[in-house]
Amino acid sequence: MSRRVLIIDDEEDIREVAALSLETVAGWDVLVAGSGAAGILKARESHPDAILLDVMMPGMDGPTTFRELRSLPETAHIPVILLTAKVQAADQKRFSDLGVVKVMFKPFDPLVLAQEIAATLGWQEI
C-alpha cells in the first residue's frame, strides 16, 4: 500500500535525506515543506497519511505548527511525529505532552528511518 508522508523541516539537507530514505527504502510518496506555514498549506491540500515535523524552525516552530494542524478539521486526524535534535528530558516531556504520536531524534539513520516510522504508526508493509 502506498503511503504519503509530509516532511516539514527548514533544513534543506534534512528534508532531502529524509525524503530519499522514505522513497527509496519504503517506496512512499513524499511531500516536503520548508516552514510550518507552508507545511500546513500542503497538509490541507494533499491530506498526507503522516507528518514528520521539525521542532526548531524560524517563524512558526514545530509545536505551534502541530497545534495549528490539530485545530483544522481537515488535518486534525493526521498522525504527527516530531523530529528534533537531541533534547533534554524536560523538553522531551513537553513535546510528548503535546499529543504527537512520537518524538524521534536527529541524527537519524537514513537506512532505518522508514522502518522506525512504520513501526510507530503500525504500518506493516515494510
Binding site: 534543506e12 539537507d13 532531502e16 535525506v17 530519499l20 526548531m56 535534535a85 536527529k106 541524527p107
Partner: protein, 112 residues
C-alpha cells in the same frame, strides 16, 4: 532493503554532504564567533542564543552524514549554551575545546 537501495542512499548522501558542507562550516564559524563574543562578555545573550541555535542544527545533521561524534559534541555545546547558568572561564575554555573538536571532525570527513 536491497543492496541497490542502500547504495543509492549512500551515493546521494555523499552528494548532499558536498552541497551542505558550506552551511555546516558557516555554523561552526558562528560557534567560534559566539565563543569569542562570550569570552569578552559572558552575559551576551544574543551570542549565546546564536551559538545555541547553530549547535542544535549541527547536532541534528552531522550524524546523518556519518559523523555521530560531531553530533555528540554539538549536543554538548547546545546543552551548555542553553543552560541559564552564567558561563564561567572554565566553561568557555571547555567550549573552545569542543568547537576545536568539531573542526577536527569536519576536517576528517572532508579528507575522506
Amino acid at each position: 532493503m536491497s543492496d541497490d537501495a542502500a547504495a543509492k542512499i549512500a551515493a546521494r548522501l555523499t552528494e548532499v554532504w558536498h552541497i551542505s558542507r558550506p552551511t555546516v562550516l558557516e555554523r561552526i564559524n558562528l560557534l567560534h564567533s559566539s565563543c569569542d563574543r562570550l569570552s569578552h562578555n559572558p552575559d551576551d545573550t544574543e551570542a549565546r542564543t546564536e551559538g545555541f541555535e547553530a549547535a542544535h542544527k549541527l547536532s541534528g545533521v552531522l550524524g546523518v552524514f556519518g559523523m555521530p561524534l560531531g553530533s555528540e559534541i554539538a549536543s554538548g555545546i547546545e546543552f551548555m549554551l542553553k543552560s541559564d547558568r552564567p558561563l564561567s572561564p572554565g566553561d568557555l575554555s571547555t567550549l573552545r575545546h569542543q568547537i576545536a573538536d568539531l573542526d577536527a571532525v569536519i576536517a576528517s570527513k572532508a579528507d575522506r
